[in-house]
C-alpha cells in the first residue's frame, strides 16, 4: 500500500517538476514538433503520414533519453537521488516516477504531431489507428527510458547532454527517422535493421497502414534491447553503492 502511494506521489512530483520547468520542458517538446512541421509538412509534401510515424518516434525517443539521461545524472550529482535511496521509498517507485514523466511527454508529442498531421497534412486515419499509433509511441518510449536511465547512471551530469546528443541524433538518422532507409545506400540499410528506433518506427508505420510490417522480429529486437539496458541499469544502480559521494 505504501509502495503504491509512494509511486503515485513520486509521479505527481515529477509532473509538477516538469510543469514548473518550462525552460526544459518546452524545448524538449518543441524540438521534434518543429522538426516535423518543417520537414514533414512544409518541405516534403505528400509524405505527412510516413513522416508523422518516424518523426514522432524520433520525438518520444528524445523525450525518454533526455528526461532520464540528463535527469538522473543531475539528480545523482545534486544528492536528490541519494536522499531518495536513503528514504524508505522503493527503488521501483523512484524509477516509476521518472518513467511516467517521460510517458507523459511521449503522449503530448503523439497528440500534438497527430493533430498537426490531420489539420495541416491532410492525414486521415480511423479512430482505432490514431489510438494504436499513440499506444505504440507511448509504450515504445519505455525501452528508451531504460536506455536513458542506464546512461544517466553512468555519465557525469555535465557530460550527459553532449553524450546523449551524440547517441540520439545519429541513432535517429541511421534508423531512417529523417530519411526513409529505402533511400540509404545498401550497407546503411543493413545497419538500420539492428537499431531499436527503426523497429519502433516500423510498428508505428504498420498500425497507421503506411507500410505493413511483421511484428515479431521488431518486438524481439526491442525486447532484447530493453533487456540489455535493464542489465546495464542494474549494474549502474549497484555502482552507486560503491561510489564515495
Amino acid at each position: 500500500m505504501t509502495a503504491v502511494n509512494a509511486s503515485l506521489h513520486l509521479i505527481q512530483a515529477q509532473w509538477l517538476n516538469l510543469a514548473r520547468t518550462p525552460s526544459y520542458t518546452l524545448p524538449t517538446l518543441l524540438f521534434p514538433i518543429m522538426f516535423y512541421g518543417f520537414f514533414g509538412l512544409l518541405m516534403i509534401p505528400g509524405q505527412a503520414l510516413w513522416l508523422l510515424c518516424t518523426f514522432a518516434t524520433f520525438g518520444v525517443m528524445g523525450a525518454a533519453l533526455f528526461s532520464f539521461g540528463v535527469g538522473i545524472a543531475t539528480e545523482r550529482a545534486q544528492g536528490w537521488l541519494m536522499l531518495l535511496r536513503a528514504s524508505p521509498a522503493p527503488v521501483g517507485a523512484v524509477i516509476a516516477g521518472k518513467a511516467f514523466g517521460a510517458l507523459l511527454f511521449a503522449l503530448i508529442i503523439a497528440v500534438v504531431m497527430s493533430t498537426m498531421a490531420a489539420v495541416f497534412g491532410g492525414v486521415r486515419l480511423a479512430t482505432g489507428q490514431w489510438l494504436a499509433l499513440a499506444a505504440v509511441l507511448v509504450l515504445g518510449s519505455l525501452p528508451f527510458c531504460l536506455m536513458g536511465l542506464a546512461l544517466g547512471l553512468w555519465l557525469k551530469p555535465n557530460a550527459a547532454p553532449a553524450v546523449l546528443n551524440l547517441i540520439y541524433l545519429p541513432l535517429g538518422f541511421l534508423s531512417g527517422l529523417w530519411i526513409p532507409t529505402m533511400q540509404f545506400p545498401k550497407f546503411l540499410q543493413g545497419i538500420a535493421e539492428w537499431l531499436p528506433p527503426y523497429h519502433l518506427a516500423a510498428l508505428a508505420l504498420d498500425v497507421t497502414g503506411a507500410k505493413p510490417a511483421d511484428w515479431a522480429p521488431s518486438l524481439i529486437h526491442l525486447a532484447v534491447f530493453t533487456f540489455a539496458f535493464a542489465i546495464l541499469t542494474a549494474l549502474g544502480w549497484k555502482r552507486l553503492d560503491g561510489t564515495r559521494g
Binding site: T2, A6, L16, N17, E75, G79, W80, A86, P88, G242
Partner: protein, 303 residues
C-alpha cells in the same frame, strides 16, 4: 530492555586508495542524542552511508534496532535522514515535499503539527528554492521527521546557518528528542554537540578515538586558553612554562597552555606590564582539536 539503535562490530570500509573505516566498534543507545565529531576525512560520512545501507558492508557487522539487516525496508521506515547535499527539487513547495516524503512511511505525522514544530508556519506553499538557507534546513529536517522515525540521522544540519537559524533548528531537534526519538548528529560545531548531545563520539583516521559525555570529553584535555596584551616577543612567549601554542593577536598573544596557572604566573613575571588577561578552561572544541591532533586553524577567535 530497549536494544541500541545501532551496534557496529569490527566494521571496516575501504575505497581504492583510502581506509575509510578501520575496525569500528560502536553502540548507539536508544533515546539519546549522539554527536559524531571528527575532522574531514575521519570516516563520518562513510559510517552514515553504511548505517543507511547506501553502501554495502565490506567487513564486520551492523545491527540496527537489534536486527541484522541494515538494508531492510522495515528498518528504513524507522529512520529519517537529513543528508549534506540534499539536491531537493527546488520547484516543489514545502507542503508538496512533506506529502511526498510522508507517502514513503506507514505513519506520517500530522502535517500542521510538523510545520509548527519545524518553524515553517506560513511557508507551506512556498517553493523550496525560494526559501532562505535556514528555512531550507528546517524544511529538510521536517522531511526527515515526517515519518515519525524512531531514529533521526542528521548530517551537518546547521552548516552555513547564522546563529539564530541554528538555534531554531536545535529547538526542533530537542522537540524530537523529548518525544523519544534517538538522534545521530554529525557536526563540525562543538557548541552544537555541547548543547544537544548526551553522548559524543570522536572519530579520526577511520577509528573511534574517544567517546563519552561532552563533559567527559572536555575534561580529558587539561588545556586553558590565555589571551593577554603584552609586549613579549615570540621566543619569550614560547619559553613560558606549559605553553603549547602561541599566536599573535592585536597588541599581544593568544596562547594554549596545558597548565594555565603556571603559564600566567611566569608571564606576569616576564612582563609586569601585561594587561587584559583572560584565562578560559578547555571547551569541547579545544578538547576535540587536541584529541584529533589537528592544529587549531585559529585560536584568535577562541572564546
Amino acid at each position: 530492555m530497549i536494544p541500541p539503535v545501532a551496534e557496529l562490530t569490527g566494521v571496516s570500509h575501504r575505497y581504492a586508495d583510502v581506509q575509510a573505516l578501520d575496525e569500528v566498534d560502536l553502540r548507539l543507545e536508544a533515546g539519546q542524542v549522539t554527536a559524531l565529531l571528527g575532522p574531514n576525512g575521519a570516516g563520518k560520512s562513510t559510517l552514515i552511508h553504511l548505517l543507511l545501507g547506501l553502501k554495502p558492508v565490506q567487513s564486520g557487522t551492523i545491527r540496527l534496532f537489534g536486527e541484522q539487516a541494515p538494508n531492510a525496508r522495515t528498518c528504513r521506515s524507522r529512520i529519517g535522514t537529513m543528508l549534506q547535499a540534499s539536491g531537493v527539487q527546488d520547484n516543489l513547495t514545502v507542503a508538496e515535499l512533506l506529502a511526498l516524503f510522508g507517502s514513503f512511511y506507514p505513519n506520517p505525522v500530522d502535517r500542521d503539527d510538523l510545520i509548527e514544530e519545524a518553524g515553517l508556519v506560513g511557508l507551506e506553499n512556498r517553493r523550496f528554492g525560494h526559501l532562505s538557507g535556514g528555512q531550507q534546513q528546517r524544511a529538510l529536517f521536517a522531511l526527515a521527521a515526517v515519518g515519525q522515525p524512531d531514529w533521526l540521522i542528521l548530517d551537518e544540519p546547521t552548516t552555513g546557518l547564522d546563529p539564530a537559524a541554528r538555534r531554531r533548528l536545535w529547538q526542533a531537534v530537542q522537540v524530537r528528542r523529548d518525544a523519544g526519538a534517538s538522534i545521530l548528529l554529525c557536526t563540525h560545531y562543538m557548541d552544537e554537540a555541547q548543547r544537544l548531545a548526551d553522548h559524543v563520539v570522536v572519530m579520526n583516521h577511520g577509528q573511534v578515538m574517544h567517546q563519552g559525555t561532552p563533559d567527559e570529553i572536555r575534561r580529558r584535555v587539561p588545556q586553558d586558553r590565555i589571551r593577554v596584551r603584552s609586549s613579549l616577543d615570540e621566543a619569550a612567549v614560547r619559553a613560558l612554562p606549559a605553553v603549547q601554542h602561541a599566536e599573535r593577536i592585536e597588541g599581544g598573544w593568544a596562547l594554549l597552555s596545558s597548565n594555565g596557572a603556571d603559564s600566567v604566573r611566569a608571564l606576569l613575571v616576564a612582563d609586569p606590564d601585561a594587561s587584559r588577561l583572560e584565562v578560559i578552561g578547555a571547551d569541547l572544541e579545544t578538547a576535540f582539536l587536541s584529541l584529533t591532533e589537528t592544529e587549531p586553524t585559529s585560536i584568535k577567535d577562541a572564546a
